[in-house]
Amino acid sequence: MARCLDGHRILDLTDERGFLCGRMLADLGADVVKVEPPGGDAVRGRGPFAGRTPDPERSIPWLAYNAGKRGITLDVTRPRGREILDRLCASADALVESYDPDALRDARLDYASVAARHPHLVLCSISPFGRSGPHAGYRGSDLTVTAMGGNMALTGDPDRAPLRCTMPSSYFHGGAEAATGLLIALYARDAVGRGQHVDVSLQAAMVSTIMTGASQWWQHRRDRGRSGALYVVGNTLQREVWRCRDGFVSYALRGGPARIPGLVATAKWMAEEGIDAPAWNRDWSAYNHNNLTQAEVDELSRPLQVLFDRKTMRELFAGAIERGLMLAPVNDAREIAASEQLAARSFFAEIRDEGRGLSYSLPARFARASDVEMDVRGPAPRLGEHNAAVYGEIGIRDAELADLRREGVV
């Protein structure tokens, strides 16, 4: 079946900070060619590994975020490699990179150089802070850009250090943001008559995760600090993540009129359980979470914790669905893998990775559409798996390829 980006070729020269962008574009139908240094991308050596035994072909982040791409090797730090990269660029619509500044210069992939040689090409740069400005030369992994993007100061418990998410969430926000920017540049190419630079800043992408918090500061001028699993609402602290019998659930007293039927249903549930909950006996039509006092919040919270402590995550979620409560389980990987909803929507696909002799289930899609496919198209490439095919397409024949191999360029 057809895909939205059929006929588009995108060169992917990213490290783990940018993998997700190319994965999305491949799912959407682009021919995404992953260009690795001859020794392979760094995550191949780092793992974790499928089967737990170190093997550069079994690196889990590689398999997960490069699925559906083709893969070639090329040493872009050498003149011969750069010359071949130029030929690849001539055949491509876009190039996405996430080099550190020195490596970017070595590969001549700064925008001025690329635009001069390949005016048709969209160049998408995924970097910690952007490609120009006072911090353009700074290093930044997920930890650092999450800190400098303002999310970290607000995440975690007040009595301990600010926190990031244990998986690198900035690479997901930034990768998907990059895919959007790159596609807008491709869309604009007809009107502009040329490619352009898409300059993604992971830091800037992270600022938006605090949901206008930074902009609202401009009005109230109060730094908020961290409040753990509680949220600052009006003048109160209201719990968002609650303990239950076998884990945690998410539930909130805030949220406006849409939340009120769920609150009423919660009161009914506690009554059926025989839980004494006088604060829940109220005129809900006049309820406004902004007007609660801390004493009222505490009175509402206490019986709720009694209910949650009696039930498992599964029981609470089933009850929430049956009764129309806005309550959700704090799922771990097991629960997500076992989700009936995801199964019904074919969210996971079985990848028969014959080249590696592996078979595994993998998230297959981030969207679905009426008459095009948007799902994963196959396993991640093995090191240099598509060298012959891709180089053949730009007119490099077997003899030349053999030379390049000898020289260590490919």
Binding site: L163, A176, A205, V207, I210, Q216, V241, Y360, A367
Partner: protein, 403 residues
């Protein structure tokens, strides 16, 4: 003014909250005309978040205003058949319809894709709700807070010896829109080439689980469930936030290689403890991480966060300031990118709006108008776009259709 990527593109937006409207910012900032169809009976809940005994004004809603810049607003009562008829007229005008209601809402009004594509055969339409348009849990009513829990982000954030806290902000509300926008622009690229429209279904929880593919594959392939681990990383040490001089001031420091570590030791003046052999390899630093963190904190504690970060970055070390809301406004890099742009709104006054995470060199995003007041553009939309007469508009107004 430069060429705008979506000049001439017409977008009709239904729904509210954050995830749907944020996605459409990507089109609005790049020149599309976006009309939000709103309701006075059931206002967008972001218009209600700041409501209190003192504030009953639906236009006094900073959160709503900051997320919805560059858009036009009309009020329309979709529970009146005449309201639905007007909405359908607007669909004929539109290239794109975006909605983020629960799945049953658009169907109830007869505004589902099957009905709308009959009016506009090349329509591109996107629906984004929490769980998706199909499946046994499609009608589950949740916000981003629930989305973060369902998709794993809550579980993965916190200290290993304490409850999950989740990352601040309702993470699926900021993550999902980036995917919605990407799918939408891909569909527009296809439409321009083939002339064909498309219907797209994006489940917000699925964009989050897809992002966590690596974490899920570690379970699916190996049976392992990686849990939250504070700020630590399996692949780097030190890797954490360290206290600095001042109240609740912090910096981050990460050493991804033994070279990084050697540079760090030099940058902090080669104290005796740092020369200990147990710290020279990653394995050694991981085995002695608590001690390492305590020692490093003794050094950072005496220093201002920016002093630490400038010094360490000069030495080529991955380090950052844990920036507060205030810091973000003073951050020279964000200022260089023009990240915060000041707008003036008739009710909330002067306020910043945040730019998107990317900058396009030839067709840059622009913020030309603040978030709309509810129904602010009735005249433009009903008179100029739909061609209704003053008498018709007055009649519909009296009948409560334009509410």
């Amino acid at each position: 003014m430069s060429v705008r990527a979506f000049e001439g593109l017409k977008v009709l937006e239904f729904g509210g909250g954050a995830a749907g409207p944020i996605a459409i910012r990507h089109l609005a900032d790049h020149g599309a005309t976006v009309i939000r169809v709103e309701s006075r009976q059931r206002p967008d809940f972001l218009r209600l978040l700041a409501q209190s005994a003192r504030n009953r004004d639906l236009d006094n809603a900073p959160f709503f205003t900051m997320l919805n810049c560059n858009k036009l607003s009309v009020a329309l009562n979709l529970n009146d058949p005449r309201g639905v008829a007007l909405a359908k007229k607007l669909v004929r005008w539109a290239d794109v319809v975006a909605e983020n209601f629960a799945p049953k809402a658009m169907r109830k009004w007869g505004l589902d894709y099957e009905s709308l594509v009959a009016l506009r055969p090349d329509l591109v339409m996107v629906s984004t709700c929490l769980m998706g348009q199909t499946g046994p849990r499609k009608d589950y009513p949740g916000f981003g807070g629930q989305g973060s829990a369902i998709s794993g982000f809550n579980f993965l954030t916190g200290w290993p010896d304490r409850e999950a806290t989740g990352q601040h902000g309702t993470i699926t509300d900021s993550l999902a829109p980036r995917f919605v926008a990407a799918a939408l622009v891909a569909a527009l690229i296809r439409r321009r080439k083939t002339g064909r429209g498309l219907y797209i279904d994006v489940a917000q929880t699925e964009t989050a689980a897809y992002s966590l593919s690596g974490w899920l594959l570690e379970h699916l392939a190996n049976g392992d469930v990686v849990g939250r681990d504070g700020n630590r990383s399996r692949f780097a040490a030190p890797h954490g936030a360290f206290p600095c001089k001042g109240t609740d001031r912090w910096c981050t420091i990460a050493c991804h290689s033994d070279d990084d570590w050697r540079r760090l030791v030099a940058a902090i003046g080669r104290p005796a403890w740092a020369a200990e052999r147990r710290f020279t390899t990653l394995a050694g630093r991981k085995a002695n991480e608590a001690d390492l963190e305590l020692r490093l904190a003794e050094w950072t504690r005496e220093r201002e966060p920016w002093d630490v970060v400038h010094a360490l970055q000069e030495a080529g070390i991955d380090a950052g300031v844990v920036e507060t809301d205030r810091d973000l406004h003073e951050d020279p890099q964000l200022a260089h990118r023009g990240h915060f742009r000041l707008m003036r709104h008739a009710v909330i006054g002067e306020h910043p709006v945040e730019a998107l995470g990317y900058r396009l060199s030839e067709t840059p995003g622009e913020i030309t108008r603040p978030g709309p007041r509810l129904g602010e553009h009735a005249d433009l939309v009903y008179r100029e776009i739909l061609g209704l007469s003053d008498a018709e508009i007055a009649h519909l107004e009296r009948e409560g259709v334009l509410q």
